[in-house]
């Protein structure tokens, strides 16, 4: 009986001991991924801010500018890109919509981001764009990879359509979460005019024909929860100018927008709550279950060995074998 019990315990010990590394290094990289049907919104505000009045072509102080950012996973496009590349792909259609204090549109920039669901590396399967301009990302955007490392990453800047390093600047505590703080500074760079301008009759073409160009600079800050790679807070010190040309009269530059953009408090709370629960799922696969199963496996192995040892000790020593009488045709000889 003891022998059978120790064999069953041994089978369970091997089961749990094997499950621990399999979960961590085989299942986790395959199971932890961004779902292709994700839908997320974030609201950021800058108040006060400076905004260009296109009527007078003069910048004015406004109480608040709001940026609404929506990300929507496009499942059919993700499946198509997945088949073309043989990878697990996510396609996000995003819109960054900026509204003035009166709620009227200031700018509207759509984009498409195609990336690997597991690593968050950009995938070049066609369709990537910013405001209709085809782009080729070589950096992350919106989200860091699961198990974010304390190092610099390349981050895609939608205004310049290029990727540049975003620097790890240290570990902080934010609303009870350990977060990595990242910072990227984009120096003054000439950038394309938005396809949709805030004033009727003014198009990128008319601005260009007047010899005026758009310039932009930003300092981008992210607080990233490292287990999920999700930013729980984001800020930008964002400046845009129009430079040169006949539109500006005797001035060589005017401010289009200038402000310190911060996530709205209710969206920070919502994001922190969501990340805290998602974090537990990732930790379940990377830490809780592997370590729990390994310890359980070792304990069961010890128990199996103990039972086997006791079983052997309790067994009576075997008596010397007596000579067996030879039997021939049913008769003893």
């Amino acid at each position: 009986m003891r022998r059978r019990a120790s064999l069953v315990l041994l089978a369970f010990a091997v089961f749990f001991a094997a499950l621990a590394p399999l979960l961590r290094w085989y299942a986790y990289p395959r199971l932890a991924k961004i779902p292709p049907s994700e839908y997320q919104t974030a609201v950021l505000e800058a108040g006060p801010a400076t905004l260009l009045d296109y009527g007078t072509m003069r910048p004015r102080k406004v109480s608040k500018v709001t940026i609404v950012q929506t990300l929507r996973g496009n499942v059919p496009a993700a499946e198509k890109a997945g088949k073309a590349t043989g990878r697990d792909v996510v396609v996000w259609d995003a819109l960054s919509y900026m509204a003035g204090p009166d709620g009227k549109m200031v700018s509207k920039i759509p984009e498409r981001y195609v990336f690997d669901a597991h690593s968050q590396d950009p995938v070049h399967a066609g369709g990537e764009h910013v405001d209709g301009d085809a782009v080729r990302r070589d950096g992350i955007e919106f989200k860091w990879p699961f198990l974010t490392e304390k190092r610099d990453y390349r981050y895609f800047d939608a205004q310049t359509r290029t990727s540049a390093p975003i620097h790890y600047k240290g570990t902080q505590t934010f609303r009870g979460l350990k977060v990595y703080y990242f910072e990227q500074t984009i120096p003054w760079t000439k950038v394309p005019l938005p396809k949709t301008m805030p004033v009727k009759g003014v198009t990128p073409e008319t601005v260009r024909k007047a010899g005026t160009s758009r310039w932009y600079s930003t300092k981008r800050m992210f607080w990233v929860e490292p287990t999920t790679g999700a930013p729980v807070n984001g800020q930008e010190i964002h400046r845009e100018e129009l430079r040169g040309g006949t539109l500006l009269g005797d001035r060589d530059r005017v401010t289009v927008f200038s402000g310190h953009v911060k996530m709205r408090e209710d969206f920070i709370r919502h994001t922190v709550d969501m990340v805290k629960s998602q974090r537990q799922l990732v930790l379940l696969l990377t830490a809780y279950l592997p370590w729990g199963f390994l310890i359980l496996g070792m304990a069961l192995l010890a128990l199996a060995l103990l039972l086997e040892a006791r079983g052997r000790a309790a067994r009576p020593p075997s008596a010397p074998a007596e000579p067996t009488p030879l039997s021939v045709a049913g008769r003893s000889v």
Partner: protein, 44 residues
């Protein structure tokens, strides 16, 4: 010999569970019918 067989059964069961889990994966779901917002939402 019986100990080896027991260990093999445990290992095979662990492999079977992990391979099944990863093969099934998570459902893709569907594209959200919600729009890309052009108004400021009141709450998340």
């Amino acid at each position: 010999m019986r100990a080896l067989a027991a260990a093999a059964i445990g290992l095979a069961a662990a492999l079977a569970i992990v391979l099944t889990m990863t093969a099934i994966g998570a459902p893709s779901g569907e594209t959200s019918p919600k729009p890309l917002l052009t108004t400021v939402p009141k709450h998340p």
